[in-house]
Amino acid sequence: MNPNLPITEDDLHGYVDQALAPERRAEVEAYLASHPEVAQRIAGYAGQREALRDAFGPIAEEPVPPQLSLARMIEARRSPARHLPWRAAAAAVLLLAIGGAGGWLSRGLSQPAPAGIAALAQEGADTYAVYASDRNRAVELGAADREQLVRWVSNRLQRPIAVPDLASAGYRFMGGRLVATPHGPAGMFMYDDDHGTRIAMLVRPMEIEGDTPMSERSRGAVSGVTWAEQGLGYTLVGAKPADVLHPLADEMRRQISAGQDSVKL
C-alpha cells in the first residue's frame, strides 16, 4: 500500500490512542508491518496505555464519597449564615438537573438575605471567586489609576474610601473595581504577591452591624477576615488560611482607622 502522506510521529500516537480515521489507520498498520522496529516501539506505547488504564481505571469504579455530593455542597451553601446567590441557584439547577433537587430552590430564594457581617463575608468570597481567577481583567482600573479608582468608589459608596497599602507585607496593589452586592455597590481592591497569589478586599456601607470585631470564615481553600468600623464593612479574602490573612487584615484596619493618612493619592 502506498500511503498518500508520510506517516508522522503524530499518526503513530493517534494509532495508539485509536484516534485515526479507518483509512489512515490502515495506512499506519501497513507502515508498521514493514517497519518492525517502529512497530515494536508502538506496541510498547499501546501496552503502556493499557497498563495505565488498568492501574487507574478502578478508581472510577469506587463509590463517590459523600463529601463530593453536589446536592450536599449546594445544601451547605444555603445554610442560614450565607444566602444562596441566584447564580449559584441557577447553577444548581443545571448541575443537578431533575434528580433530587426538589424543594430547595424555592426555599433558597424565599429566605431573606442576611444583611450583616455574614452577608458581607459571602459577598467577598463570591467576588473573589469571580475576579481573582480572571487572568486578564481582574481589575477594571489598575494601580496607575489609583486616584480615579478611589474617587469612583468613594462617590458611589458616598463615603471616603481608603486603599490600604500592603507593600510592607509583600502585596502589591493591583487596582480594583466597583462590584454589585444585594446591599448596593461595593468597592473591591486587589493585591498580589511575588507568586501571583491574589487577595482582595471588599468594602461597602453596613446597614446593620456597623461596628463588629474581626471574624474568620473559610470555604474550601478560600478564607476571609471580616469586620466593620464606623458603618463601613470590610472583608479580606484570599486562597490562604484565615490565620495568614488575619495579620494583613489587622494592618489594613490599622491604616484605615489611622485616619486615612496612609492613603497615597
Binding site: 510521529e9 503524530d10 500516537h13 493517534g14 495508539v16 490512542d17 484516534a19 516501539r41 506496541a43 510498547g44 506505547y45 499501546a46 501496552g47 503502556q48 496505555r49 493499557e50 497498563a51 495505565l52 488504564r53 488498568d54 492501574a55 487507574f56 481505571g57 478502578p58 478508581i59 472510577a60 469504579e61 469506587e62 463517590v64 464519597p65 463529601q67 463530593l68 453536589l70 455542597m73 449546594i74 451553601r77 447564580r87 449559584a88 441557577a90 447553577a91 444548581a92 443545571l94 448541575l95 443537578l96 438537573a97 463570591d126 471567586a129 469571580v130 481567577s133 507568586h195 470555604r219 474550601g220 481553600a221
Partner: protein
C-alpha cells in the same frame, strides 16, 4: 442537559493519578473543583464542553497544589503513595509490574504526566487535552511523545533480566 455528577468518578481518578496522592488529598482537590464549578457555572462558555471545563479547573488546582508542594519542599513519599494512590491491591506478579509502572510515571515531569493521563486514561481527544492544558495541540503531541518515550525507557531499564516486562505486550 449537561450533568456534572456522572463526571465525578473520572475527576477523582485524574486527581489521584496526577497528584499520586492518597484518596483523601485527591478528593479534597475534587471538592475544591466542584465548589468552583458551582460558583462559576455562569462563567462557563455557552459553547464549551462541561467535561473539558471541569478538567481544566481540576488540572489548574492540581498543578498549583503540586507547585506549592515543591515550594514548601515536601513531597509524597513514593513508597507510601503507591498503594494508596492506585486502587488495585496487586497480586504478587502483577504487583511487580504495577510498581514499576508507578515509579516510571513518577519520574515524568508534571507537564508530561498530565498529557499522558488525560489522553491515555481519561480518553480526552488531543484537542480537548490542549484546551485543558491551555497549550497548542502541537505541544500536546510533543509532550505525549516525550512522555511515552521516557516511560518506555524507564520501564525498560527497570525490567527484569528476562526482558521486556509483559505489561508492554501489545493489547488490541
Amino acid at each position: 442537559m449537561i450533568l456534572v455528577e456522572p463526571l465525578i468518578p473520572a475527576l477523582r481518578r485524574y486527581a489521584r493519578s496526577l497528584l499520586r496522592a492518597d484518596a483523601a488529598a485527591a478528593d479534597d482537590l475534587v471538592q475544591d473543583c466542584l465548589e468552583r464549578a458551582i460558583t462559576r457555572w455562569h462563567q462557563r462558555r455557552a459553547d464549551g464542553d462541561a467535561r473539558t471545563w471541569l478538567f481544566t479547573i481540576l488540572h489548574n488546582l492540581a498543578v498549583s497544589r503540586l507547585r506549592q508542594a515543591v515550594r514548601r519542599g515536601w513531597h509524597v513519599p513514593i513508597d507510601d503513595a503507591d498503594e494508596a494512590a492506585t486502587a488495585r491491591p496487586p497480586t504478587q506478579e502483577a504487583g511487580l509490574r504495577h510498581g514499576e509502572l508507578m515509579r516510571a510515571l513518577d519520574t515524568l515531569p508534571e507537564e508530561q504526566r498530565s498529557v499522558l493521563l488525560l489522553v491515555s486514561v481519561e480518553d480526552l481527544s488531543y484537542a480537548e487535552a490542549a484546551k485543558v492544558l491551555d497549550v497548542p495541540i502541537g505541544t500536546v503531541m510533543s509532550r505525549l511523545s516525550r512522555a511515552r518515550e521516557r516511560l518506555q525507557r524507564t520501564m525498560d531499564a527497570d525490567a527484569p533480566a528476562s526482558g521486556r516486562a509483559p505489561t508492554l505486550r501489545r493489547v488490541k
